[in-house]
Symmetry: C2
Amino acid sequence: MARLGEFEFIRQLLAPLSQGAPGAFNLTDDAATVTVGHGCELVITKDALVAGVHFFADDAPDLIARKALRVNLSDLAAKGAKPVGFLMALALPDQISDDWLRAFTSGLAQDVTAFACPLVGGDTTATPGPLTISITALGEVKTGHFIRRSGALSGDILCVSGTIGDAALGLDAAKGAYEALSQEHRQYLLDRYRLPQPRLTLGQALANRDSACLDISDGLCADVGHICVQSGVGAVIDTTQIPLSAAAASVLRTTPAALMRVLTGGDDYELALAVPPANIAATQEHGRKVGVAVTPIGRFVEGNGVTVLDGNGQPLTLFSAGYRHR
Amino acid sequence: MARLGEFEFIRQLLAPLSQGAPGAFNLTDDAATVTVGHGCELVITKDALVAGVHFFADDAPDLIARKALRVNLSDLAAKGAKPVGFLMALALPDQISDDWLRAFTSGLAQDVTAFACPLVGGDTTATPGPLTISITALGEVKTGHFIRRSGALSGDILCVSGTIGDAALGLDAAKGAYEALSQEHRQYLLDRYRLPQPRLTLGQALANRDSACLDISDGLCADVGHICVQSGVGAVIDTTQIPLSAAAASVLRTTPAALMRVLTGGDDYELALAVPPANIAATQEHGRKVGVAVTPIGRFVEGNGVTVLDGNGQPLTLFSAGYRHR
């Protein structure tokens, strides 16, 4: 472990992140107590990130920290939950410096404040391997309002939040692809890869309203496929309706084959929703209120599997069902 | 990730561990819902284990799994909490085989049943580094009954459960130390290192009765020191009163210097307690009822720091304040 020592790291850098969570006992105990609001149930999720798999080891430490927290908050968002707190286990290689830890916790502090989500506990250990961050995020949702993956019905409209494909194109760009891309667009896509926006306010507005929801981490087609499997329906996606950022549209103009990355690349952390037709106007209005576009891109149908239609209404054959880390 | 594939690993091997937790949705959703009993609060803790740091990579996979769960359950035990469920993030190196995963989950299944603690969620990822297991354990305790580290008062009696030092001596023995030890005693100490016993029933019996509690993971002196720091008191330990297993006593007969390992070695996962004198008989009776000895080994005093007395009542100078992983 770094020069600072485990106990000083916790006391100096991590304990300040627990303010606002009295049950965290300033990170001085073996465990924390957590309470949720009256009439609410606890929602809990856990995602781990490994250097070299989920981020670049030389990425800015503050961005690594914020992404690690945000991918977990994104799961809470997809379930309609409001953050309550999080726990973090860090496995730190020897070469991590105190400066790195300071930058890491400083980034984390920004998002702890931004999302009102204090650190309530965790663990720090050495590792002979890569930096590994495991976060458990806690949220609350009114009892019974949790939005499942399994509620989509044939006839529901398939919607997505924000724009799709940016993160995968950003990862490609970081690896040197899309040389014709402007510096501004390149940076935009990279930022989308490095710092996802958990759609918490949108998710909370949708809780108990729409049929099914998840966050798009494995890729649009794979994740819509997850809703289909869990709901016992199929889905049709109209590629011409998929909302693209200006930067992603610019990539597709010069590299049309990158459409496959938009359809199957991961890490966007936008929401995919099954919306009953009667709810579509209200759902889009919720999106407008919180400043996140909600765009219909297809529909759920009887049957199974995800069919993707090109500009001529012809089914595309996908080469990859989705994105899996390594 | 292994040949089985992430989704099949979850479906075939992990989902069965979620039986008994309806809010886990058979591990098919992004998050789980968790409810605690009426009048109870949620207790949550998180410990990560790394191959080569916390266990040997070639240890039996079922024992690795059970230890990873048990060190977390031990934290719940120390707080007086009853297990509700757990989440697990696994970072798996490529060389992990399906057979290994089957043995790992089979061991986990044993303890899921033994401790009535279902798997409610988690994450699986590849890693270029060592196997890393991060577990978040959830428990419940009657509201206000959580036993803090910070409640010890001057005059309280310092007690420990079970026997002390076995795990550290077992680790030494695994590395070839204590050649004169009988095979039976060697195996006993190794088992104590590899498979700790979370003192859940004892902890639950003590909830809201005794002043302070933690589980001994860093080492007897270091952990009693943690109670002292958090409680603003000092402690005196009488080495002649420390309960030893027959195997540990056998090591000390041939290697008296191993007393230092008993005092400072980690991983016993016994409980250290601050017991008001008026409660001592009841606390020991609780121990008898659940079959775990509770032994007074000293007392808490005004001041600070941990003083260790030898057989002549003279203070020992400790060379190491405790055990830190790596």
